[in-house]
Symmetry: C2
C-alpha cells in the first residue's frame, strides 16, 4: 500500500493533471461553461453537450486537424476567449518524425502519440473535440461539414455541420502518387501511425514467407527485396532503420536467409537527401554503399504491381522491372480532396496548396487561416510596394530619400519583407543602409525613386517558400494562437509594421520562420544534421544529438518517458519481431 500511495502521489506531481473536481472548479472560474456541465450531469438531465449559454456569445473557432499545426495552435490558444471546436479523424497527436522508427519497432506506436483530449484539457477554457473528418468547407456560409469516423454499429447521426467565425485549416497533406499506376494499391506509405504499424507487420511477413519450405532461392530473394521510392529524409531514414533492424535483430532470427535480403532506394534526382547540404548527401550515399543499401539515383518509377516495380532509368531511357516483397512510397506531398475543393471555391483552383498571406490568412477568404503542409505563404514582393514605400519614407516629399529617412522605415520594411534580411545576409551586407550605396560601393547621401527601385530590384529573388515540415507547421500554429490570444488587444493597439499601402499599422507582425536545423538519421547510430548557421554535423555524436533533441521535443512528459524507455529497451533487448 505504501508503494501504491507513493505511485499515486508521484503520479499527481508528475502529471500535473488536475483531478476532476479541480477541472470543474477551473472551468467554472474561467468560463462558466462547465458549470452547466456539472449541474446537468448531477441530475442526469438533458444531454450536457451543446448546452447554450446565456452569456455574451464568444466567437466560434473551428480547428481542422490535430497534427503539428493544429496541436501547436491548441496548445498555446487561450481557449477561454473563444468557443473552440476541434475536428480530426484521429483522436491523438502523433510525433511524426519518429514514424520511421515505429516501422521497425525501435519506438512503439503508442509512445509517439498523445490523445488530443489530454492536450486540450490542460488549456484554460473549454475546447470541444469531435473525432470526425471534415468533408467540406463552405466558406460562403462559414460552415464545415463533418463526418464522424466511428464504428457504424454505434448509434447517432455521423454527419453534422459546424458553424465558425474563424476557421483554422491544419489538415496536412496526403501522399502524392503523381498518378503512377498501381501505387495506391501496392505501396505502403509513411504518413500515419497506422501506416508505420502496417509496414512493421509486412516486413515480418516478408521474412516469414521467405523461410517457408518449397520456395526457390529466387522467390526468397523476391520476398526479401525491400524497395523505398523517394530519397528524402523519410525514405532514407526508413531504409536506415530497416537495415539496422535486419542487421541487429532479424539476422539472428532468420539466419537462413541472411544473404538474400536487399534494400533499394529509388530516387528521381541525382542524389538522395538533395534538400540537404551536399556534404550530407555524399556522407549518406557513402554510408549506404558501405551498408549494402542499393541507391538508384536518376530513376523514375513508371508503375507498381503486386510483385514488380517498373523503373525508368532517366539517363538511358530504359525501363527495367524489379521484383519486390515490399514497396514504401515516400515522395512528396499532395493536396487532400477537401482542401482541393475549398481551393476551387475561393479561386485558388490552379494552385498546388492553399495560398495564405504573411499572417497565415487564406487569400480570397475572410476569417480562414491555414497552417502546415496544406498551406504556403505567398510572401509579398517588395517590388509591388516599392512606390508606396518610397512615398511613405519620403516624408518631406522631396522626391529623394535620405539615409535618415530610409532608416526611419527600414525596420518596418525588414519585418514586412523578410527577403530583405535574406538578401543582406546572402550578399554579406552588414548594414541595411549599404543597400543605398551606388554600383561602385560608394555611400550616397540620398537616392531618387529609380535608384531606390534599382537598389531593391534583386531583393525579391530571396523570397523563400517554407518546406513542408513539422517544424514549420508547429511554429505557424504557435504564431497563430498568439495572434488569436491578442486579437482584441492588437486591434486596439496594433503592433505590426507600418502599412505602406494604406495607413496605420498591421495588427500583428507577419509570421516568421526560424529554422532550427534538420536531422537525417542514417542507421548504425550515425546521423547527419544541418544546424542553424549553415553548420553541418555528421556521425555518431550527431545521433546522440538527435536522441536529445527528439526526446526534448516530445509533446508530453508521458511520451518523452516512453520514447526514451523504448530506446533503452531497444539497446538492451533489441526490437520485437512479433507480427501483431
Amino acid at each position: 500500500m505504501t508503494i501504491s500511495s507513493f505511485f499515486i502521489k508521484a503520479s499527481r506531481a508528475f502529471q500535473g493533471y488536475p483531478v476532476a473536481p479541480k477541472l470543474l472548479l477551473l472551468g467554472t472560474i474561467s468560463s462558466g461553461g462547465l458549470v452547466a456541465y456539472a449541474e446537468s450531469q448531477s441530475d442526469a438531465g438533458p444531454p450536457p453537450i451543446d448546452s447554450n449559454q446565456n452569456e455574451v456569445r464568444k466567437k466560434k473557432v473551428v480547428v481542422l486537424g490535430t497534427g503539428w499545426g493544429g496541436t501547436s495552435f491548441l496548445k498555446h490558444l487561450d481557449a477561454s476567449q473563444y468557443d473552440v471546436q476541434v475536428v480530426s479523424p484521429r483522436n491523438y497527436f502523433a510525433f511524426t518524425p519518429l514514424l520511421p522508427s515505429v516501422t521497425c519497432g525501435t519506438v512503439e506506436a503508442r509512445s509517439i502519440v498523445e490523445p488530443v483530449r489530454n492536450i486540450i484539457k490542460k488549456r484554460r477554457g473549454e475546447i470541444k473535440y469531435f473525432e470526425a473528418e471534415c468533408v467540406k468547407i463552405d466558406a460562403a456560409n462559414k460552415n464545415v461539414f463533418v463526418r464522424a469516423n466511428t464504428d457504424t454499429t454505434l448509434v447517432g447521426n455521423p454527419e453534422f455541420s459546424l458553424e465558425y467565425d474563424y476557421l483554422v485549416i491544419a489538415l496536412g497533406a496526403q501522399v502524392n502518387t503523381f498518378n503512377t499506376p498501381g501505387v495506391e494499391e501496392n505501396c505502403h506509405f509513411l504518413k500515419e501511425v497506422e501506416d508505420a504499424q502496417k509496414i512493421r507487420r509486412s516486413v515480418i511477413d516478408c521474412f516469414e514467407t521467405a523461410v517457408l519450405p518449397d520456395l526457390s532461392e529466387e522467390e526468397r530473394r523476391r520476398n526479401l527485396h525491400f524497395v523505398i521510392v523517394g530519397g528524402g529524409p523519410t525514405g532514407v531514414e526508413f531504409a536506415a532503420e530497416l537495415h539496422d533492424y535486419f542487421q541487429e535483430d532479424l539476422v539472428k532470427l532468420y539466419p537462413m536467409v541472411k544473404d538474400l535480403v536487399k534494400i533499394t532506394v529509388i530516387q528521381s534526382g541525382d542524389h538522395i537527401l538533395n534538400m540537404f547540404d551536399e556534404r550530407i548527401s555524399t556522407f549518406a550515399e557513402t554510408k549506404f554503399k558501405r551498408d549494402g543499401i542499393d541507391v538508384q539515383t536518376g530513376c523514375r518509377v513508371v508503375s507498381v504491381s503486386d510483385k514488380e516495380i517498373k523503373v525508368k532509368v532517366k539517363s538511358k531511357g530504359e525501363v527495367c522491372s524489379v521484383p519486390h516483397g515490399l514497396v514504401v512510397w515516400s515522395t512528396g506531398v499532395g493536396t487532400r480532396p477537401v482542401v482541393r475543393d475549398f481551393m476551387e471555391q475561393i479561386g485558388q483552383a490552379n494552385r498546388r496548396v492553399l495560398e495564405t498571406n504573411e499572417w497565415l490568412r487564406v487569400k480570397g477568404c475572410e476569417d480562414v487561416y491555414a497552417i502546415g503542409d496544406c498551406a504556403t505563404i505567398n510572401q509579398r514582393k517588395i517590388m509591388e510596394d516599392v512606390l508606396a514605400i518610397f512615398a511613405a519614407a519620403d516624408v518631406d516629399n522631396s522626391g529623394t530619400l535620405t539615409i535618415d529617412e530610409f532608416r526611419d522605415v527600414v525596420d518596418d520594411i525588414i519585418i514586412r519583407y523578410p527577403q530583405v534580411e535574406h538578401y543582406l545576409k546572402s550578399n554579406h551586407l552588414q548594414d541595411v543602409t549599404n543597400l543605398l550605396k551606388d554600383s561602385k560601393g560608394n555611400d550616397r547621401k540620398e537616392v531618387n525613386f529609380e535608384e531606390f527601385k534599382l537598389a531593391l530590384s534583386l531583393v525579391d529573388s530571396q523570397r523563400k517558400s517554407l518546406p513542408a515540415t513539422a517544424q514549420v507547421a508547429a511554429q505557424q500554429g504557435t504564431y497563430l494562437s498568439k495572434c488569436f490570444n491578442r486579437r482584441e488587444q492588437c486591434e486596439a493597439n496594433p503592433e505590426g509594421p507600418r502599412r505602406f499601402r494604406g495607413s496605420g499599422q498591421h495588427h500583428f507582425n507577419p509570421f516568421r520562420y526560424k529554422h532550427f536545423g534538420q536531422f537525417a538519421p542514417l542507421g548504425g547510430e550515425e546521423a547527419a544534421a544541418e544546424l542553424p548557421g549553415d553548420w553541418v554535423s555528421m556521425g555518431h555524436s550527431t545521433q546522440w544529438l538527435w536522441y536529445s533533441v527528439y526526446a526534448s521535443k516530445q509533446v508530453s512528459w508521458r511520451t518523452r518517458v516512453l520514447v526514451v524507455s523504448d530506446w533503452t529497451r531497444r539497446f538492451i533487448f533489441g526490437r520485437d519481431s512479433s507480427r501483431i
Copy 2:
C-alpha cells in the same frame, strides 16, 4: 560512445543471446545441421532451407501451436535429438492471462508477446518454425497439411504438408458461441492479442461517438453501455479493468458523459466466478455492486444484434432486450475445426475435446500427443484394473492380500491412479493402509478380493478433469518435453509405475497436475485468489501478490521488464486513450 558501448555490453549480459557466430558454432557442435546453413549461405548456393543431412535420420516432431502448451514444450525440449518443426499462425507466444489488461491499455500488447523464434533460438539444436495454420491432420499417413498465414501478394506456395514421426497438438480452443445467433458478427472476443487490441479501439470509439453533437441522451447511454457475457475469470477481469479505465482515466477526458456509462455482466449461473470458492464469488459480487457494475445472474443470452442483446431471465422466463454499445463474449471454450476433423478420423467424434491417456498420448492414435485446451486426460478408473491389481499384489497367490503385499504395490497404485491420493485426502486418511480397514475402522491383517474391491470402490469418484487454463497447458508441455528428452533412456530403463495389466513398467510416470492457485483481479487494486491448500486471499495485498506472480511468470526478461514498466507507467501517467 561510452554510453553506447555500455548499452551494448549490458545488452549482451542481459540478453544472454548468443551473437550470430556463436549461434553457428553452437549449432555446429550440437547437431551439425547448421554447418550446411553457414556454407550454403557463404557461397549463396542453393536455398539453405530443407537441406538434407546425411547423418542418421532424426525422428521428426511436428508441434502445432505456440500457446502455453506448445511453447512450454519447446522451451524444455532437447531439440538436438529430434528434427523439430513448429507450425503456428502467430509467430509469437502471448501471455494470455494479461489479455484483459491489454483491452484497456494497462499493459501494452507488445509487452505480453515474445517471438517464437526468440524462444526457440535459445534451445539446443535446431527448431524450424513456419508461420502457418494447420488445416488438416492426416493421422493415417502421419502428415499435417498447412496453409501459410502470410500476405497474398508475396510469392511462394502457401500450402504445403509436413510429415511427422511424432505429432504434438497444442492448438488450444476457440470461442464457444453455443450457436447463439448474431454472436459471431456482433460480439468481441478475448482469446487473441488482436481481440484485445480491437476491444481497446472499440471502447474509445464508443466514447468518441457518445460525445458527438446531435445525439439524444438515450443514444449516448446506448453507446456507453458495455455488456460482458460470461462471469468467468476473463469476463470479470475485463469488467473490472474497464471500470478502472473509466474511473481513473476516461472520466477526466469525457467528463460530459460520466453519468451515462454502464457496465453489465451477464452470467447464466447463479454467481459470477462460480468455479472459485464461494467466499470469492461473494466478495466479487459485493465489490462490483459497490462499483456500480451491474451483475445479472441467471440470465441466458438468446441473440445479439448490432444494437441490442436479447436476454432470457431464467427465473421468469421473460426475454428482454438491452441496447448496447459493445458486447464482449467470454463464455467457455469450443473445439477448433481442424481438431474436430481429426477427432472424427480417430473415432472421437462424439467427444467435446481430444481424449488422451495419462501420458498425454491421444487415444486411438499412435505417436500423437495433445496438450492444453484442445485435450483432456481420461484418467483410468481403478475399478477397471482392480482384478489385475489384486492379482499382481497377491504374490503368493493365496487369494488374500496382506498389509505387506499391499504396501509393495501401493506406490505404483498411487502414481498410476492419482484419484487414490485425492480420495485419501478428502477422507482425511493419514496412511494408505487405512484403506484396508474394515467398515468399523478396525485394522485387518489381510483382505480378500471382494473386500479389496469394496475398499477401493469409492476411489474413482475423485477422478478430476483438469480446467482449461494456462497453468495446466504449461505443465503438460513441460512434462511432455521431458518425456521426449528421455525417450530412449526410459525405453531402456523404464521409470514409470508397474503395468498391472501386462508385464514390466510404464516408461514414464503419468502426467500429474500441480495446482498453484488462481487469481481473479477485481479492479481498484483489489484481487481475489485461491491459493494451494484451499487458502483464499482477497483485497489489496492479493493484488500485489498478483503483480509479483504475474511478473515472475513472464516468458522472458524482456516481457518481464516491459510488463512491470507498463504497470509503473500506468501508475504515473494513466492509460493512453489514443484510438490506434
